[in-house]
């Protein structure tokens, strides 16, 4: 009986055909268009917010020395930036943020890996880490000041306490959410011990880890602001000191100008730096639905 037998080259053509049909076609919008579609909602929201702010000022619910309008604050902001007061304060604050976050990164990662690996450690301190993460850092200050006085160390200590648990939890969640199939695949390929960590466990846990890093940053930034308000060190201008100083002088425009800087830095680091990192990883790992 003559069954139609596929010749090898027929199979090649058929495979190429089904591949061409199956490969997902990603619609690639132009870069300008993509940027515009990401930017306009933000611009619109900012516009609406500024308008509401101005409207409240116009209503005169609060005296203008307590609540100035956006134009006054913007002028003050430009002034403080030009005079070098804000850049100097920002430099001190950012330096503390970077150092504190770097320490938290190391401490949090090491604790996270240790807890993720060991069942005993997890039983012992797993819930403690989450507890620490939910504890408001402000509650640590009285003890911290007793321990370290009004010093840089006190501020850094609280920043690390704020950020490290979030980072550790990120590592743990990342490791816990590795699909078992990937671990099995690694073992079948002959990955053991260290090579298993290097080639499978670490890359597989990266999405959770980056989420933890991002959350850790938010906690670090908050703790730092609280720290700078409570632990005021002489001759060290910082954003927190700016806030406190402006309040004492009833200088609302300067106060709001400093707040704008704090907000903008928070947004930039969170969305531009961590947001981009997270998006890249989610895309590479195939965790993004559609485009």
């Amino acid at each position: 009986m003559a069954t139609t037998t596929p010749l090898p080259d027929t199979l090649d053509v058929e495979l190429a055909g089904i591949d061409a049909l199956d490969v997902p076609i990603a619609p690639a919008p132009s870069k300008a268009r993509r940027m515009w579609s990401a930017a306009w909602p933000k611009l619109l929201a900012t516009g609406i917010f500024l308008f509401i702010w101005q409207a409240v000022v116009w209503l005169g619910l609060k005296p203008s020395w307590a609540l100035p309008g956006p134009v006054t604050v913007f002028k003050q902001l430009v002034n403080d930036l030009k005079s070098g007061v804000l850049p100097k304060a920002t430099a001190t604050t950012m330096q503390r943020a970077v150092v504190g976050y770097a320490i938290a990164l190391v401490v949090g990662s090491v604790i996270g890996i240790a807890v993720a690996r060991s069942k005993v450690l997890r039983a012992a301190v797993g819930s403690l880490i989450t507890g620490l993460q939910t504890m408001p850092t402000i509650a640590w200050f009285p003890l911290t000041i007793l321990l370290f006085g009004l010093t840089e160390t006190a501020i850094l200590f609280v920043v690390v306490l704020g950020a490290a648990p979030a980072i550790a939890n990120g590592v743990i969640a990342g490791v816990d959410h590795i699909p078992p199939l990937q671990l099995r695949a690694g073992r079948v390929l002959g990955a053991r011990g260290l090579s298993m960590y290097r080639h499978v466990v670490i890359p597989a846990s990266l999405p959770g880890y980056v989420a933890g890093l991002k959350q850790g940053w938010a906690f670090a930034w908050r703790s730092l602001m609280a720290g700078e308000l409570l632990v005021i060190i002489a001759k060290k201008p910082s954003l927190g000191v700016r806030l406190d100083f402006a309040r004492q002088n009833n200088d609302a425009p300067a106060l709001l100008a400093a707040m704008v800087v704090i907000l903008v830095i928070g947004i930039i680091v969170d969305s531009v730096f961590f947001g981009r990192l997270e998006r890249t990883i989610r895309q590479r790992w195939g965790l993004v639905d559609g485009a």
Partner: protein, 251 residues
């Protein structure tokens, strides 16, 4: 010399006393270069059996002899999503300590074997299910294994892709002379591919019957010869399923 030799292997799950046998004194062997398919209803311990042969788990009793270190293909390819197709294949070579220079050449060869030239820089989520399975196949071949274990590798694919991959796996099998142990729910698929089809019983898993398939290759899934053998295998499987119906009624 047998490529796979399973003798009296048992595997128990659950606590002592309330345990169930996933596998109960199962015995069979696979010749070098043979293509053997295992079919069985749910609960026949197919995945347990492959894990044991792959060395991912240890049997409770019995002997397992395998030629070399087997490779295992999963139903969901099991590729690493953070690596491109190329790097997925390369990792298998890297873990075998193949030199970097050698690796680049081998990866290109392997991707050509599964006809995925030009797709090396794609990540798994940028490939179709059938292409992912072929990358997984290339990765398994990179292990230079003598024995290829396949756990329902085409179960999640559409009919046309599966049909093409049957031809493809047959071609790779012929070209490389590798031994294949292929587990499936699909009786026709088993008859289309296997030199022999083994029927497993369920709870506990045991080999209850064996069908030799003497149809000339290449075969077609829809050919009457395949259908005729498949009908006999299916009847045997249904008899096995009926046995459980009676057991339950009696219990």
């Amino acid at each position: 010399m047998k490529a796979v030799d399973i003798a009296g292997v048992s595997k128990v799950y659950g606590p002592a006393g309330a345990h169930t046998f996933a596998l109960d004194r199962i015995s069979f062997d696979v010749d070098k270069g043979e293509f053997v398919c295992l079919v069985g209803a749910s609960g026949c311990g197919k995945t347990t059996l492959l894990n044991l042969i792959a060395g991912l788990d240890k049997p409770g009793a019995g002997e397992i002899d395998v030629e070399g270190k087997p490779a295992l293909l999963f139903q969901d390819a099991g590729l690493f999503p953070w690596l491109t197709a190329e790097k997925n294949v390369e990792l298998a070579l890297r873990l075998r300590k193949v030199s970097k220079k050698e690796r680049a050449k081998r990866v290109a060869d392997l991707l050509h074997t599964v006809r995925l030239d030009g797709f090396g820089d794609r990540r798994p989520h940028e490939l179709s299910g059938g292409m992912r399975q072929r990358v997984a196949l290339a990765r398994a071949l990179a292990q230079e294994t003598q024995v290829l274990l396949m756990d329902e590798p085409f179960g999640a694919l559409d009919a046309i892709t599966r049909d093409l991959l049957h031809d493809e796996i047959e071609r790779v099998w012929t070209e490389t002379g590798v031994t294949i142990l292929f587990v499936t729910h699909n009786v026709r698929e088993a008859v289309r591919l296997g030199d022999r089809v083994l029927v497993l019983s369920s709870r506990p898993g045991r080999v209850v019957d064996e069908f030799r398939v003497d149809i000339a290759r290449p075969r077609r899934l829809e050919s009457p010869e395949v259908a005729a053998v498949a009908a006999r295998v299916t009847e045997r499987l249904r008899k096995e399923v009926r046995r459980h119906g009676h057991d339950d009624a009696a219990a």
